[in-house]
């Protein structure tokens, strides 16, 4: 039996290389100022979905919400084996917190319709909240399996999954459809395939057409470019609020109960700091001092 999988992914700023300059005054991140990457655990989620497809058949659809340039992660998903990718993009989504984001994703997942499993990464490295997966599950009325590490079996409408925590493992059995959030130890994501890179290199969303027309002057009009891509199945659809039938008041800043009030930059420093010579004598004096100070 084949299973249709939807994978929710996010393009994230590479938080390992962030600076205060990338923050806007309202406390949100100026994503444009940062290198953007495929959220690492979302790659594990995609890999888990691709493995389901390899084994049982079915379609893997990858959905992301973000600005025009989030199409980069969708192309990457195509290179790695996704069958279909969709960009959810609308100015009305701007400023969404996890609740508003999960509402938009829920509407889009319902719009896709036919699915057995929804996969997300456990959490995204920009917020580390791990909230969107469970919130999407709640809004879809689905059971959730967070911290999913291994699918042990998938049969007769039932999935058995091993979950991994710092303190141990748990195996659970659940009726489909359900939503899984996947941890980094689940698998080693397959690399992009060269064959698929060549085949899908031109994949683009209509939002990217103006830039592409400059790059490829042989297409004289947007229509010509659109027809060319659509014919080759390389047109990445962009869904807006209206396409997914979302209610605007649940989106963006209006639909977000949490407000970032204040952002402080982390300042390092310590009032008393002392070098200790790396010699037997130096260490011995330190240990003796710590013992006298009741620290040891």
């Amino acid at each position: 039996m084949a299973y249709n999988c939807i994978v929710l992914v996010k393009q994230v700023p590479d938080t390992a290389h962030i600076s205060g300059k990338a923050m806007k005054d309202d406390g949100t991140v100026n994503r444009a100022a940062l290198p953007a990457i495929f959220n690492p655990e979302d790659l594990n989620a995609l890999e888990m979905a691709l493995q389901v497809k390899d084994r049982y058949g079915g379609q893997v659809t990858v959905l992301t919400m973000g600005p025009s340039r989030a199409a980069d992660v969708l192309r990457e998903a195509l290179y790695r084996g996704a069958d279909r990718v969709i960009l959810l993009s609308d100015r009305k989504f701007a400023g969404s917190d996890t609740l508003a984001t999960s509402y938009a994703l829920k509407c889009a997942v319902e719009h896709i319709g036919d699915y057995d499993l929804v996969f997300c990464g456990r959490q995204a490295i920009d917020g580390d909240t791990a909230q969107v997966g469970p919130q999407v599950a709640e809004k879809l009325g689905l059971p959730q399996i967070t911290y999913a590490e291994t699918i042990q079996s998938l049969q007769e409408g039932e999935i058995t999954v091993q979950r991994a925590f710092p303190r141990g493992k748990e195996t659970v059995k659940c009726a489909l459809p359900c939503l899984l959030t996947v941890v980094s130890t689940a698998n080693r994501p397959r690399p992009p395939s060269v064959r698929r890179m060549i085949a899908c290199k031109l994949a683009a969303t209509p939002l990217e057409y103006p830039a592409l027309l400059k790059q490829w002057p042989e297409f004289e009009t947007v229509e010509a470019l659109d027809a060319y891509l659509a014919e080759r199945d390389l047109k990445i659809p962009v869904w807006t609020t209206a396409d997914i039938g979302a209610d605007e008041e649940n989106l963006g800043l209006d639909g977000s109960p949490t407000k970032v009030w204040k952002v402080d930059y982390v300042v390092l420093g310590t009032s008393e700091s002392r070098p200790v010579p790396a010699t037997h004598e130096g260490i011995s004096a330190l240990v003796s001092e710590l013992i006298q100070g009741h620290i040891l």
């Binding site: 938080t15 390992a16 962030i18 600076s19 923050m23 609740l99 999960s102 490295i125 920009d126 917020g127 580390d128 909240t129 791990a130 909230q131 997966g133 469970p134 919130q135 709640e138 809004k139 059971p143 959730q144 967070t146 911290y147 925590f165 710092p166 303190r167 141990g168 195996t171 659970v172 659940c174 009726a175 359900c178 977000s256 109960p257 949490t258 407000k259 970032v260 009030w261 952002v263 402080d264 930059y265 982390v266 390092l268 420093g269 310590t270 700091s273 002392r274 070098p275 200790v276 790396a278 037997h280 260490i283 011995s284 330190l286 240990v287 003796s288 710590l290 013992i291 620290i295 040891l296």
Partner: protein, 338 residues
């Protein structure tokens, strides 16, 4: 007494053992309740756990909402969420706090989504204060304070309009008060009703280490990073920890390199520790790691790189080879402790 501003604490328990973070939250909840002139209400779910109510009261609860049911015997998202969501909808608490444990992080977003309330994950501090937006002032909101963007900034989040104000709080960051056995509180039994949909997931097998983690409560932590170099070299850290009566910690890099297992990981994605003494060996000091240890009373850093960022927060800087320095420390301790 301001009954509109109740503070609810989700008590996480497993096999009758209450998670330390839940007790820490009761202490914090008390403090917030005094500030708001309101009361602390504990959500205690499980099976055969009624006897824990007294302990929960002694740590600061005024009311215990006790749901004792066979389907709640071990944590599962849907039945736990069902009970919590029904209670939240019916009684509309002002604040709801959960530990940022795997279960807390699984349950909290489910409640927030159903209640359409704001949720802040992994808070490291909570305060009460006002929030101004244009000409409107929202009084006595919960300031939810957390590191963000890989620990590079500290953000203060508020939920001005939609309540409850939900937050998960990192383990080990709030101080746990001494229990007061003379405290009095009310116990109210909840009789949950479950539908088949709430029970579609079953736990087949669980292999978990006990809730209480020695590393978190250790007063001395000897921690190693990528600079330790090998699993064999990590043995030296164990030896030092044993000598000093401490526990072994590690950075994510050391865990990822396979030097030591994940339950030793200190930092933003691991455990937060605040020992009396933290000895950082071969640790460069990423913000993610510092987020889990910078509250330590004293920090000794040993690193061969004099420019390692860990030295910026260390009280004692030792630039040298840990394979020499650690044996000296062990020897010096034996000599001095005689």
């Amino acid at each position: 007494m301001n009954k509109d501003k109740e503070i609810w604490i989700f008590i996480e328990q497993e096999d009758g053992e209450i998670a330390a973070v839940s007790l820490e939250l009761l202490s914090k909840g008390r403090e917030l309740a005094e500030r708001l002139d309101s009361r602390v209400c504990a959500l205690l779910f499980g099976h055969g756990i009624a006897h824990l109510s007294e302990m929960v009261i002694s740590y600061g609860a005024d009311i215990v909402l006790l749901a004792d049911h066979p389907e709640l015997a071990s944590y599962r998202t849907l039945p736990y969420a069902k009970v919590a969501i029904d209670l939240v909808r019916e009684r509309q608490p002002y604040i709801l706090l959960l530990g940022a444990t795997p279960n807390g992080r699984d349950l909290a977003p489910r409640i927030a989504s159903a209640a359409r309330a704001g949720l802040t994950a992994d808070c490291t501090d909570l305060q009460i204060g006002d929030y101004r937006k244009k000409d409107r002032v929202y009084g006595d909101l919960l300031y939810q304070i957390r590191p963000a963007f890989g620990g590079n900034v500290i953000a203060t989040i508020v939920n001005p309009e939609m309540h409850p104000q939900l937050a998960t709080v990192r383990e080990g960051v709030m101080r746990m008060a001494e229990p007061d056995r003379t405290r009095k509180g009310e116990i109210e039994r909840i009789e949950p009703q479950f539908s088949a949909r709430d029970l579609v997931l079953q736990v087949v097998k669980r292999e978990m280490q006990p809730l209480c983690c020695d590393l978190k409560s250790a007063s001395i932590v000897v921690s190693g990073g990528a600079g330790v170099g090998s699993r064999e070299n990590f043995e030296l850290l164990y030896e030092l920890a044993e000598t000093l009566g401490g526990q072994v910690g590690a950075t994510r890099a050391a865990v990822d390199a396979g030097f030591v297992s994940q339950e030793h990981q200190v930092g933003q994605t691991g455990i937060t520790v605040r020992p009396r003494l933290y000895i950082a060996c071969g640790i460069s000091g990423t913000v993610q790691h510092r987020a889990g240890m910078d509250q330590s009373s004293k920090i000794i850093a040993i690193n061969s790189d004099p420019d390692a960022p860990i030295f910026q927060i260390a009280h004692y800087k030792i630039v040298g080879d840990l394979n020499e320095v650690i044996p000296w420390m062990i020897r010096a301790y034996h000599e001095n402790a005689k």
